[in-house]
Symmetry: D3
Subunit: 282 residues, 6 copies
């Protein structure tokens, strides 16, 4: 279960409120690279964790930290919306400052739906979608999902850093960027602890590899037509990363036949011509 | 641009049609771990690729291969739906075999909406959602997104393998599992080519690390209350994976203050008591 | 504005309640082929209609009829859910008839969320999505959208007819299928009134065709590789349907060059190797 | 910011795992009446709270409690999925117990996507959608949103109670139902504290009522045609609840005119007949 | 069933078209606080109404009125889009007035997808989502859902009133705000008719309260850590609103144990280390 | 299976990058009228095609062409985003050009999430949704769905043509508009090949028309109240388009009764008053 503190994990200060930046911050709250996603992803991975208890515990700890990041960003949104109409009025010689603020790049729903506060949505107002909460039941797959979340999350935070000149906002982002630096490596450290590539690949490593069609397990199939350069690299030669094979480069060839489906069954109510014509036409 | 062949990349054969398995296969078509996602993800990464041309080319080649995997799975769905009513009729002593088939675990929309064919949806009928197409503009972040897709994809394929006894379906899955083995390692090979952890971390590596708040960049913050075990591991000690710091374990402490928002502005139409009471109440 | 009657447009009778059929009926309520979609589509087309007033009026009339079809189907769902537990209990020798009913193919949310009534969702429980409300501002495009809705809607109703043996339900579906017969032809009658193919094509017919690249306006581009049959038909020869050209068959050829994107701009925070390597690598 | 404990808020025990009940529990996790929604709704209301600080604090406290309810339910799902194949095997004389379990009413994605654990989705597998997180900036509106969430939430929990015979699950639900009893009344107590109906209505009470069209502010407009009973009740007579008017019953009459839109502008690319015909046709 | 009139329920007049206001109006059409939602919510509650017939009738009447509100708002959108390019051209010294209009804050899809008319979406272009149609089968829960819809709806309308200076639009909003005043109180009047708090709480009142864990039914659990103020108020003392208990304030304590999940079953394809390590690691 | 070429199907050139136009182009990529939809729609129709093989082949060919249209548009987006900050800086005398570009009408996620590249979303950032992939199993229904897609798609392309002055972009759009001209007629040519209206209507033509309620199959039901003009036209008189009846105009009349639902069953947990009052109240 959970507890809260009335203080923020790190200072959130806005020197010059900017309702337009409040819109951009939404991406870090409810976007696919945002804090709602990482928070829920780590917590759901923890709640369903099977195997060594320490990984559940580690996931709980970081998932709990991330709730506080949502809080920080929602606070930052609310502060950026304060004084919105008046500031934008100056810039735009507007008749109606509320209209102008709304139209000058802010998310209209931060006003219309939330009365000047944050939403559970991304920078385009698209609501947070729970399908991004990856918790596969496979620890290595989940760790890579987490690295991805923190890598795209840090790229997002760096871009937000670029998109503001406000010293308070930059200070908050320096903290969040640093936490993403840590969290990327935290998940990769688990991979290292599990034995690195040879200890984890192919994921899941509990499926017996002899069951798969081994003759295509290390082939880079090239699907380009004549005239396209061959994309060679580490993936076309040398030992495979799982240590169980050798990478190769092969032009793709159909190994299957032309698909043949049965005529429509009567209950499917295709057009009559589809049923009659199945034999005659070609 | 693109071309097609009238043959499948690998044989798709169904020995005993099973409309219930047709539902499960939908997860590998339109699910978050499915082929529509990887196909579109690699193609969008290719279409927006900036930097060394060979990575664009490699992504195009594999993205194009994946279109053919959607084709294979959609064919497998259609074949599993053939003979659906009659087979299930036998098992269930049903009055109305269509009803029984529909109710016996198949996706009703494969009949109602598609006339016994595949949908662009997952195993619960949730439509494919384009927000899962990750193409961040950062090559390392994208490679980890791709590893994640192939790791969860291979776990899915292994679970589907478990969920069928049909020799034809098992044969098709052996092929797809093997391709996922290759593709996981293909994306990790790019990370290796870029210099591994020290060459790529923290992602993005083009943001100057001195801009981030370095004092929290390698701290594992523990958010558990008294009585919870400390989750120690590789992530709490030793050199950080980027080679730029040292992991540490610290109990989390608030570094910020209690957030203070301004009273509601009049245009936000809060309740009067919120505006009046801002000063008096506590 | 609108008025209601306390009677249904057509009798809704359920002789033997079947909670499983209640699930299938959801597709005709909130599915992409369902009545919520056609109702809202016709009303939004009416609300935004510009041009001859009679089409607005016609759309209002049929859109209003369709609200009553949602009412009929929602009533049918509620009636099919009556007596659900007891009936299924008999069939299944169940310990807990509610559980068994829920698990025996019904939509669990019809019980859990609605207390035995209809939802604004499809047969898989996916909520109705307003993006299916097509109202393009172009009358011909909208008429074809409406034909599509009624064609897929009638296919759905026929399949539902197949999926029930209940005389009351079959009677209701006979009515709905007949209305779809009418509505398909109603929209096509507008196309006829506008002059048929030559009066409406290409849609929109108000864009000057000389602005388009006429040399590819009637070419069927074949994208198959060697060995694939040429798909010939009415679309590869004869006068085009708009009367302005001649259909032709051509193998596709790239008319463009290889795309070349600029290197990443610094603010995009790609990996350093993408920026450095843009020149050297290939 | 937030902290966690390694213990659950209340005991979660499953005596006889039932993968089908695991599906139903998903509604209480990721459904519109579920714990993810209330948790995030209360926290977002707290994060954006303006006005008396005690309401922010109260919302933080209850929002934090709700995270623990997600944890309890996710744990309950995981436990219900243990032993799934073997138990269902017995019941069904199945060839392949995994297939049978998957088909026997469980959510296939709990296996395929999560390896036998909970998802951030509802009982039909529809992902949690952030648009249900209501935080309007108006305290009274939010309190009613919260009452709604707890009223539908308690109805859901009561229905789940009905749908299981497992003593452990019933025990957990007794706890959750009791908490919903408290939370419903907690939000209504705020309304009482704000002065009840006269203190809060109409919501928002900060908009000057003289600005609205007072002559229709207390009219129940009846839209039924001849022959429909008049729906009389407290809402058609007596003092209005805000104490500012008197309820009345009136048959609806159009107070507006027929809408007249301008012809399509050329850039909208309607059909030519829409532009030409705007004058002539009727 | 339903009928229509060619007149609007109330006058819709736009004195100075403003394509940017047309975007904001979308929130009142397809947003979560909008008219599509209330219209469909009341109609679905009516269609599934069980119990006293007069409530069904009342819901039908108001649901039908709301269809006309969608019509009014869609008309307002269409009128605000007339003359869009030319007006904005003046303001912006633009090269291409269509581009400028599109970029100056309007919803681009009102032009691109609808040819200058309304969409079934919110102010950010997010499509209407049927999951917001609450019809729980419990009359009291539904009434509170309806109060919520009208409270957030009136807050939205007041904010829109603030966001326009157009006399015609203000006149229309005065009407809609007044109707929301009525509808809020209409639903609360039903609660009064059912006996108020003591007659309806806890919702559902048909579940025997002795089945719930009474010892936590009136406890306000405080989850704050040391140093956080206690949030006291009406909800921490005095008789509970249902008249069946007494509110209390208690610091939360775990009443449960640490959750223990079984190791992964083999068919779940976790990593091998999760299966092996379950015993050894901690 | 599929192959790719490193060249585009047609030249994509941007003379003056415009990040705002990059946003509009998204509608043609991931919007409901866009290329992802047509591409996947034709491919899914092909993958599930039953009946004459030539239609499968034709669909494969055109579906494959459309992948290349996504590629062209994604390339156009990437090129329009190049130089974004600097160009907009000039126009706006901005302090921070990145902020200004982001706020000046571009899609912020093209920067924040994609690092200046295309997304799988529409012009409002709403992700592509697979439910728009229509593949009904009925050839005629599918052809009309395809005509609709190409008609709304061509309207979109014409509107985009209006929204840019860039010669390169206009050139690309001339090509795409011409291809839509072809594809509209290609699908209608199939209808002609199947025998036109009399050969295909009512769709599906395999359902025996005598099963439907023939007495309402050709009635235009007028739902207007007194005072509304009758909407007469081709659909109210003359032979029906299927050649099997005669159109008629009739004022709608209820043919059904008032719906009567049973009282709530106890397990549905309605309010007690709903259960008790079912008899007494009216």
């Amino acid at each position: 279960m959970f507890y809260y503190d009335n203080k923020l994990q790190y200072t959130v200060r806005v020197d010059t409120p900017d309702p337009r930046f409040a819109r951009l911050l939404q991406q870090a709250i409810g976007g696919v690279e945002g804090e709602m996603r990482v928070c829920l992803q780590y917590l759901f991975q923890a709640f369903g964790a099977r195997g060594p208890a320490k990984y559940r515990n580690m996931l709980m700890s970081t998932g709990t930290e991330e709730i506080g990041h949502i809080e920080m960003l929602a606070t930052a949104v609310a502060l950026n919306l304060e004084g919105a109409p008046s500031r934008l009025k100056d810039q735009m010689a507007a008749d109606n400052p509320v209209v102008e603020a709304l139209m000058g790049g802010m998310d209209p729903r931060q006003y219309l739906s939330a009365g000047m506060a944050a939403l559970a949505s991304d920078a385009n107002g698209v609501p947070f979608n729970g399908s991004h909460v990856y918790a596969s039941g496979n620890l290595a797959a989940d760790m890579y999902a987490n690295v991805t979340a923190e890598a795209t999350g840090r790229a997002l935070a760096c871009r937000l850093f670029e998109a503001t000149d406000d010293p308070g906002m930059k200070d908050m982002l320096r903290f969040l960027i640093a936490r993403d630096t840590m969290h990327q490596q935290q998940w990769l450290a688990v991979i290292e602890e599990l034995g690195g590539h040879k200890g984890t690949l192919p994921i899941p490593n509990s499926f017996p590899v002899e069951e798969e069609l081994r003759k295509v397990s290390y082939d880079y199939f090239f699907t380009g037509v004549d005239g396209v350069d061959l994309p060679t690299g580490r993936w076309t030669q040398g030992e495979s990363l799982d240590g169980l094979g050798e990478f190769r480069l092969n032009a793709v060839q159909p190994m299957g036949e032309e698909p043949k489906l049965a005529p429509p069954m009567p209950q499917a109510y295709a057009e009559k011509q589809q049923m009659e014509g199945a034999a005659d036409h070609k």
